[in-house]
Symmetry: C2
C-alpha cells in the first residue's frame, strides 16, 4: 500500500512523527488539536514517553520508573486519527517519502517530523567506556545505575578488605551539567542519609562521591554566582567536587582523572550527548555533535516536508546551538505543528522559529535548587519550590500525577527511598581477603574452611 | 573465624535465618523483639522482602515492583544485633553447623531457620516449559509477564494477518488456584477495559483469555459454592474458564490442553509449586513436593537446632500438608522464634506447632472477592473489602504503605493501569502477512517496497 492510495482514500495528508520525547509528543498533541483531520502516525522504539529530567530520581531509588513514564498511546488516546507504533526506525527514504523500520516495515508520509533526541557521547570511547559508565537517558540506564549503587553497598557490607570496600563505596559522576549535579547530590543523600544507617559494617567515612568536571567551574550554563553556590551545597552534602579535572580513562576498576587514579566500581556518565543518527538517515549536513542543520522554519534544506527538532536539530545559522533542554524541544514541536498547518492550508510562510528562554533550573539535593530566570538569580529553598512547581506542572500536563507529588513529599519528609530493589539476578563477588583484620568491627563471614 | 570463637567472644548464640519471605522475616522480627541479645544473621538472595500475594498486580501493570517490596535491612534496621546478607545459599554443612554460600563464603550457626519457600513445579518439564510459561514468584517473573502482555498488544496492533493477531491476543493462564484466578481476572480487566480503547486496530472481540484447570472445578481449596460464583464472575469479566482440561504440552506457539491446540504467545504458569532444594541441603526426608519432613516443633529429626518452615516444610505426621500460604509461614516463623527462646533459656519443650486457620480469600477482578472464614462464606464487594483490608494491614505491618493504598484507590476509580512500561530492549516480530486484506480497518503499514 502506498501513500497515493492512502491519501486519495482518506483525502487527508499523513504526518509521521519519529520519536515521542518532549518535542515529538508536543507536535503530536498540537497537530491533534489544530488539525484533527490529518492522519497522524507516531513511531517510537519504546511504548512510553519518558520524563527524562527526573530520571536521576529513578537512578537514586526515590521514584519508580512508572512515576515518570506514560504510555504514548495513552497520552494520545483521544486523537482518533492518531495511531501509535512501537518500532525501531532504521532510516528514511527521503525521495520516495517513506520511513523505514526494522523487520522490513515501512510507512509513507506527506510530512515528516524527526524528534529522535540524543544519546551519550563518550567522545570516541563508546565501545570501551559505554558499558562501564552508564548514562541517564532511558529507564534501563536508570535501573542499571540503581542496581550498581545498591549492589556496591551490599557487596561492601560483606567485604573485609578495606581497600576493596573503599573501591566499592567510591562513586564517580563524570560531568557537571544539571544532570551530573542532580545525580551527585541525590546520590549523596541516598548514601549518607538513607543507606548507611541500615548497614552494620559501613560507616559514612568510608563513602566517597566524586563529581569530575574538566572545566574550571560546574554548571557551565549557569551564572558564575549560582554555580559557586551549587558547588558549596554539593560539598555540604558530602560530594567531592573536582573541577579542572579532565577524565582520561575508564576501566572496570576505576577512572584516571586529572592524572590521578580513582578506584571505583560505580561510574556514571553525564559528560556529553551526541544527536541520534537521524541526520545520517536524512543525508543532511550535520554539526560536530551530529545535529542536522535545518532552516529557520526547522525544515530540511530542499525538503520542506521534512522537519527536525529538539536535540537532533541545529537551527542556528551562526552563534551557539540552542541548549538541549525539554523547553526547546517542546516549543519546536508546537511550532512545527503550526508550520505544517500553514503548509496544508496554503497560508504564507511562517515566521522563523524563535526560542523563548524561560530560564534555567537545577536541583542540588532535596530542598535546594538554583534558578536563573531572565535577570533573576535565586538559590536555596525558594528556587527548589520553583523547580518543584515547574516539574509537577509539566508532569501533570500529560496525566494527573498526584501520586508522584505525594511520593515526593513522602520521600522528602521521611528521607525514605522506597525503590531500593536490586533487579535481575545479581551475583556479588566474593570478599577479596576475608582474613584481613583491620576492619574495626568483627568480620562476620568466613570463607568456607572445608574448601 | 569459627562459631566457638564468636560465641565466646560475644557470649551470645548466633541464629541464622535463610530466606526473608513471610516466614523468615516474621522469625527475624520475633527474635529481635524476644531476644535482642542474640546475634542474628538473615541471608537472602535478593535485597528485598516481596509481598508475593500482590505480584499479579505488578504483572498486570497496576502496581510498581517497589509498591510490594521493602528492603529486608530496612525492615530490620532497628535490631542492632541483626545483620542482613545478600547472598546465594548453596548448602548446609549440618554436622559442622555452617551455612555455605556462593563464592566460597560460609557462616556458622548455633540455631538455623530455613525458610526458602517454593518455586514453580512444571512436573518434569522445567527446562522446556519454564522459559515459555513464566510463573509468579519474583519481581523478574512479574515484569516478564507484564512485558509479554504489553508486547503482544503492540505487536497485534501492527499485525495484518488475522490468524497471527488472534494468536497474539490469546492469553493462557494454566492453573486455577487463587493466583491463577486473580491473574486471569486482572488480565481481563487490563485487556478489555484499559488497553483495547487505546489501540486503533484491536477490538475486544479479538481478545481471548483462557483459564485452564485439570480438575472439575476452579479454586479447589474453596467451598464449592464460592468457587462456582468466582467462575461466573470470571466469565462475566470475559475469561474463558475451561475445567476438566489437563495441560498436555507447551510450545513457543501455544499449548495443547484437553486434546485441543490453542495458539498463543503468552502463557502464564500458576499450576503448582515445588519446595526449594533446602530439603536436599539438609539431607532430610522429603515429601512428594520436596518439603522436608519436620517434627511437631518444626525442627529436623535428630537436629533440634535446625528448623524448617513455610513452603519448604511439611510438619504433618499424617493428613494433608498445610496450605502454602503466607499465614502458615508467618505463624511458623513466630513459633520457631519462641522455641529457640525456650531452648536458649533452658525452659521445657514447647507445645507442638498448631496452625490457626484464619480463612481463605481470593479476588476476582477489581471489586469482587470470595471469602471463606470458618463457617462464613461471602462473595462480592463485601468480601473484596475484607480482602483489601487484610492486605493493607499486612502491607502496613512492614512499612507505612499509604501510597500503595492511594494507588489502588486511584486505579480502582479511574480504571488506570499506570505501570504500562515495556522494559528491556524488546523487538517486535514483523507482521507475518502485511498484504492480507481481511482486517476491516485499513492496514497502515506496508513492507518495504524496495526490498
Amino acid at each position: 500500500m502506498n501513500v497515493e492510495a492512502r491519501t486519495s482514500e482518506t483525502g487527508h495528508p499523513r504526518v509521521v512523527i519519529v520519536g515521542a520525547g518532549f518535542g515529538g509528543l508536543q507536535a503530536a498533541l498540537a497537530i491533534g488539536k489544530q488539525q484533527p483531520e490529518v492522519d497522524l502516525t507516531v513511531i517510537d522504539r519504546t511504548n512510553h514517553h519518558l520524563f527524562q529530567p527526573l530520571l536521576y530520581q529513578v537512578a537514586t531509588a526515590a521514584l519508580s520508573p512508572a512515576d515518570i513514564s506514560t504510555p504514548i498511546r495513552h497520552v494520545l488516546r483521544k486523537q482518533k486519527r492518531t495511531e501509535v507504533i512501537m518500532a525501531e526506525v532504521t532510516g528514511i527514504d527521503i525521495e520516495s517519502k517513506r520511513v523505514m523500520m526494522a523487520d522490513n516495515l515501512s510507512i509513507p508520509y506527506n510530512y515528516l517530523i524527526i524528534a529522535t533526541g540524543a544519546h551519550e557521547n563518550y567522545f570516541g570511547h563508546q565501545k570501551s567506556w559505554g558499558p562501564l559508565a552508564p548514562g541517564l537517558k532511558s529507564i534501563e540506564d536508570a535501573q542499571a545505575i540503581r542496581n550498581k549503587i545498591l549492589v556496591a553497598f551490599e557487596q561492601a557490607e560483606i567485604e573485609t578488605d578495606p581497600e576493596q570496600q573503599k573501591k566499592l563505596l567510591t562513586f564517580v559522576v563524570v560531568g557537571s551539567g544539571p544532570t551530573g549535579v542532580e545525580m551527585a547530590g541525590s546520590m549523596a543523600e541516598l548514601a549518607y542519609q538513607t543507606l548507611t544507617p541500615e548497614y552494620r559494617h559501613i560507616d559514612p567515612g568510608m563513602i566517597h562521591i566524586i563529581l569530575i568536571e574538566a572545566l574550571p567551574k560546574i554548571l557551565n550554563a549557569f551564572p558564575e554566582k549560582l554555580a559557586r553556590r551549587a558547588k558549596k551545597k554539593l560539598e555540604r552534602l558530602g560530594v567531592d567536587v573536582r573541577t579542572n579535572t579532565p577524565l582520561e580513562e575508564i576501566t572496570k576498576d576505576g577512572v584516571v582523572a586529572g592524572g590521578q587514579w580513582i578506584a571505583s566500581t560505580t561510574i556514571i556518565w553525564t559528560a556529553g550527548v551526541q544527536a541520534s543518527p537521524a541526520g545520517q538517515w536524512l543525508g543532511a549536513e550535520t554539526d560536530r555533535a551530529g545535529r542536522a542543520k535545518v532552516m529557520p522554519d526547522l525544515s530540511l534544506p530542499d525538503y520542506p516536508e521534512v522537519f527536525v527538532l529538539g536535540d537532533t536539530a541545529n537551527p542556528s545559522q551562526d552563534g551557539p546551538p540552542l541548549p538541549g533542554v525539554a523547553q526547546v524541544a517542546m516549543q519546536q514541536g508546537r511550532y512545527v505543528a503550526s508550520v505544517i498547518k500553514q503548509r496544508i492550508s496554503g497560508e504564507p510562510a511562517p515566521e522563523p522559529f524563535h526560542y523563548h528562554d524561560k530560564g534555567n533550573l537545577a536541583t542540588v539535593g532535596r530542598a535546594y535548587a538554583i534558578a536563573s530566570i531572565g535577570p533573576i538569580r535565586i538559590s536555596g529553598f525558594i528556587a527548589w519550590i520553583i523547580w518543584l512547581t515547574v516539574h509537577i506542572v509539566y508532569l501533570i500536563g500529560y496525566e494527573n500525577r498526584t501520586i508522584v507529588l505525594l511520593q515526593w513529599a513522602w520521600s522528602y519528609l521521611l528521607l525514605k527511598r522506597r525503590v531500593r530493589i536490586i533487579t535481575r539476578s545479581v551475583r556479588l563477588s566474593p570478599p577479596s581477603d576475608p582474613n584481613h583484620k583491620s576492619i574495626p568491627e568483627k568480620a562476620k563471614i568466613a570463607t568456607n574452611p572445608k574448601q
